[in-house]
Symmetry: C2
Subunit: 666 residues, 2 copies
């Protein structure tokens, strides 16, 4: 039997060729501290300086534009990522920058060196430096966002340069010093892969945008966000008549049902609907966090296990003897068996990590499908479906705060969820391996099988009792009365209920264990999903994750309804195209006609007004969540709406940067 | 410091006066095997015989009645507990008998001696004997149910005799042999207390029913179940006009809310509504199972802990030295500290048991409140509220099978739930005691406080960030537009969302930990409640406990709607009262008038018919779950309904025992 074990072990050693030297001569593996040519402190000081310069340059650029607004189309652009969470801007840039920040956060939390400027810090001040580092990294990468926000050639050029410098130096660092002193020698390299990937992505994207901007600079103006075709497309698709679906078959076949379940786990982009930028960012960060946690839990355990395995000597048999564990009479065989057990633990651990990563990614994809369904339902005003109760959707203090937190919450839940999932699945695999697989292979310690064998009359009885009850219920206690069933033979029903009570208690114990296992597994697997309340439906809102999600949805839906955006876009677009022709106030007039209730209208105007009202009614009927926004307009004067928030006329006291608010709040 | 510990320990020794002799001379405590005068085997053989004789006697009694039916009012009474789950019969008897059977089940499962007839059994046959015992005990106590089902003086007399014999012999046994050989010397006595209590209850109830039956024998007839005032009362209360509630205040004060929450946990009987017998039985069994499990988990651990504590010698300090644990330099002090720690563990354990029992009982009471609310909602046809979806309520195979299992499932869930709850609460208490209370008292090992102290800037920052976000959301990002709020200052919102992202991840980790703890605690505490799905609302039905409960409700509601029962009761009652006067077919005529659609009616009959239809409509409107039952009548011929199932005329081929079916199925 032991020889079999050996062969397993030997097989496995082929899988780990890269670790063989580790095992053979552990004293050799001392990694020298390595200093790159450009020291980390120097890199950070320089980059912080360059970032500041870039910000100032951008600021100057925007100032110049604002002074000669007409020539440049009035680009919004104080140094802020104004389009960051809007549909108009490229979603890749904020997603990549958030990913970068998240990777830096992992470094700050895990590493001993808290702040890159400071070479060494005492234990007392470390906390403060760490807090400072949490603010520093977002600030460091901020220009990468801001360059995109300016939406000009200069901005893209600066962005390209900045990302090239970042990317170049970081790759140089990793090439010079690939080994890390802690945990595992390649740890630092492996975990910085996503960071390098994001920087490379930005280094490619910025030049691409620069080239694209050159080509389309004539077409794309300041209101790219609003004139974006997406919103008008959305409205067109919404207004398109749906094909009559006919009477659906009541009985759905099982394969088609399975297909529907599988489809519900795969996110396929849908025509006429784009996921909000915030969700794209959130998902990017979530996937990065899956990677980071997986790397951490593999690298933190597997090398140790492998070292322990290669270090197993004959001494281990004496140790086992002390605990009265006898694996074999032959000491050499004991070493083989122990090594084999270590190998099994390793395999279980790695497969648990793999399974939990796949499960987490699947649940995240399922989340995306549900996010889209929920958003579409809320645009339709179907709050019952999403929140399980009728609710008005409007921004509130907690909903805005939750909107701000959402990405962070999702990342944190993915991290913790993956760790818990991994532990639970690892334990399940271990139990499966040591209680079922190894006993079958070796023919020893068949505890589970012995218990099952001894208890088979009991299990058989319980199964028979369950079957008996269902058969009785079907053929004796149910009587067909026309279309419906009614209960008959009550005497027998009562007698059987009484006599089978004791068995039902035992069946109930099995059901209770199943309930326990199912609930635990379900909650562990779905822990990373914020769109799912883990508590009972009555108290769902006490679940902090789900609470955050519902509040996020409220803000998102109330502020970015595509129909509202399409309306704003149309208004602004027609205005700009007419401004070239000199009819500056025509659309304002039209708007006033639509809103005001004076009695001076001709017959034609009257019919136009009735038509407009019908259109309005139709739109509001299909998008009930807009009613709130409309009411708030009602309180403002028509002039204020059309001049103060939507128009671009020079007398406007606010600058154009308020447009996004206007998009959102109406 | 050690002196403090000693004083604690000494204090505690006063609490355990009864165990002092245990501790002083453990070798004395050898319990002799004890044989009662009436051996257990003899008792069971005799009682089985007597039970059989009683059943035969009851059978003879019923046969005699059926032969001269008119003189005795046609009591239903083959040997079956026909009224067992109906409202008419006394609920105490089935509840007590189910409790008795459950106590016997605990004995069968835990004890080594599986079957009372067999003194010794080999390991191979034990399983079979246990299964047989699971059938034997319900059969043994069956006559106690059957005696009540006959509803006659003779039945009550036999029931009294039987329960006296059972009770007398069991008390005699316990008085002769109070000690048990296993686990703990008083274990057998303590765990049989509910059994004795139920037998005493039956011994008192049967004579009481005998006396009562003598008094009311003239009034109470065969259809006690149907002529019961409860159903008509229910209808009266339902038809009574509700007092106009006026406009309720929108703002409810916090004390009144707390009051409402507390009230929702206390079951106060409600006028005009009685809980079904099945639920009363279930709750009795659930409470008994709480008692049995609590006794088991106390008795299985506490005596061992106390023995271990009293057996602590100076050797323990050497053992601790081996594990490099140094509690004190003085060996005597070490003994004191270890004893003190044992005492703390004991206190934690006992308080965990107490807390979990109280929590379980509270959740069971809350369950009762919700059972009633759910039943009332379903009588009204409000399935949305109970099942979270629209559903037709009608019996099906699985619903009847679940109805049969329900009591057993509830008991099993209470048992497992209590054990899990106890373990979790015990661990929490242990952590609380050893990480917080003892360090505060002794001033040593203040690990938690040191961590908190070192990390306070971190916690403070997180709290400040949360506050900052909420303040910003309230005062900067929210703008009041008339009645509603809209989002403003988007630039700042986006910048803060980006800059605070890293902090939000860390806040998210805390939220995730809180989610984990909350979900786990909620599910552990509510594990014993079947009326609560522990899974997410979309997949609630996969929870076996909740599935069983919803199916139980379906059967219960579809078969015992009080309005339907009141209707049947009125029909049968008027019929019986008129039978004395000779107008045998009047109500049948009325019924036919109400049902048939022929065109031969006079003006008066027409108005009467219209009135009847209105009444019908009103009833159906208020009790939509009756619509199903009505439709099934529609398929039968009117004659079949009125003569075949409801009438008591001699030409009826079925015997009167079918009446309960008639009550239920129409």
């Amino acid at each position: 039997m032991a020889s079999t074990n050996y062969s397993f072990d030997d097989d496995y050693s082929y899988w780990n060729i890269d670790y063989t030297d580790d095992r053979e001569d552990p004293p050799k593996e001392i990694i020298e501290p390595c200093d790159p040519t450009v020291r980390v402190e120097l890199y950070h000081i320089c980059m912080a300086g360059i970032s500041l310069v870039v910000l100032l340059a951008l600021s100057f650029l925007v100032k110049r534009r604002r002074l000669c607004r007409n020539s440049c189309g009035g680009v919004p652009g104080l140094l802020h990522p104004v389009g960051l969470f809007e549909h108009g801007s490229h979603k890749g840039i904020p997603a990549a920058v958030f990913g970068l920040v998240f990777c830096s956060l992992c470094v700050v939390v895990l590493d001993d060196k808290p702040f890159p400027f400071i070479a060494e810090s005492s234990e007392d001040t470390k906390e403060y430096w760490k807090i400072l580092a949490l603010l520093y990294y977002p600030a460091l990468y901020y220009p990468l966002l801001a360059c995109a926000a300016v939406k000009s050639k200069a901005g893209y050029l600066l962005g390209s340069l900045l990302s090239w410098v970042h990317c170049g130096i970081q790759i140089w660092h990793k090439a010079e010093c690939p080994y890390s002193l802690e945990i595992y020698k390649y740890f630092s390299l492996i975990r910085s892969l996503p960071q390098l990937l994001f920087l490379a992505f930005l280094s490619l994207l910025y030049p691409l945008l620069l080239v694209k901007n050159d080509e389309t600079s004539g077409k794309v103006g300041s209101n790219e966000c609003l004139s974006n075709a997406y919103y008008t497309d959305y409205v067109k698709i919404m207004l398109r008549k749906k094909p009559s679906q006919g009477a659906e078959p009541v009985q759905v076949s099982i394969p088609s049902r399975i297909g529907a379940v599988i489809r519900s786990y795969i996110y396929i982009p849908m025509e006429g609907f784009r996921v909000p930028t915030k969700l794209v960012i959130t998902m990017t960060v979530a996937i990065v966090s899956v990677y980071q946690v997986a790397v951490l839990i593999i690298v933190g355990v597997i090398p140790t296990l492998q070292k322990a395995r290669s270090g197993v000597q004959e001494d281990v048999s004496y140790l086992l003897d002390e605990f009265h564990v006898s694996l074999s009479q032959n000491r050499a065989e004991v070493v083989g068996i122990v090594k084999y057990y270590f190998w099994v633990v390793e395999v279980c651990y790695l497969s648990a990590v793999a399974v939990s990563c796949v499960l987490t990614l699947l649940t995240l994809m399922r989340s995306m499908v549900l996010h889209r369904d929920n958003l579409r339902a809320l645009y339709r005003g179907d709050t019952q479906r999403v929140f399980n109760c009728k609710r008005r959707i409007r921004p509130s203090r907690s909903s805005i705060a939750s909107w701000m937190c959402f990405t962070g919450y999702q990342a944190a839940h993915v991290c913790l969820g993956l760790v818990i999932q991994q532990i639970v699945i690892f334990l399940c695999f271990l139990l499966f391996a040591f209680l079922i697989v190894i006993p079958i292979l070796t023919g020893q310690n068949m505890i589970i099988f012995q218990i099952l064998e001894r208890m088979w009359p009991f299990w058989l009885t319980l199964i028979l009792i369950v079957l008996l009850q269902h058969m009785l219920a079907r053929f004796i206690f149910l009587q067909k009365n026309g279309e419906t069933f009614s209960v008959t033979n009550r005497r027998t029903l009562y007698i059987f209920t009484y006599l089978l009570f004791t068995f039902n208690v035992l069946i109930g114990v099995i059901a209770a264990v199943w309930r326990l296992v199912l609930t635990a597994l379900f909650n562990v697997i779905h822990f990373c999903r914020l769109d799912l309340g883990l508590l009972n439906r009555g108290v769902e809102m006490f679940d902090p994750g789900y609470y955050s999600y519902t509040n996020f949805l409220k803000t998102e839906v109330s502020q970015s309804h595509p129909v509202m955006k399409a309306f704003c876009s149309l208004l602004l677009h027609s205005r700009r195209s007419e401004r070239g022709g000199g009819h500056q106030s025509k659309d304002v007039e039209e708007g006033i006609q639509l809103m005001q209730t004076d009695h001076k209208y001709t017959k034609a105007a009257r019919s136009k007004r009735v038509k407009a009202k019908w259109c309005l009614l139709f739109t509001l009927l299909n998008n009930p969540s807009l009613v709130d926004a409309r009411r708030s307009i009602g309180h403002l004067s028509t002039d204020m709406v059309l001049n103060g928030q939507l128009s671009l006329s020079p007398k406007d006291s606010k600058d154009e940067l308020d447009k996004p608010e206007a998009c959102g709040s109406e």
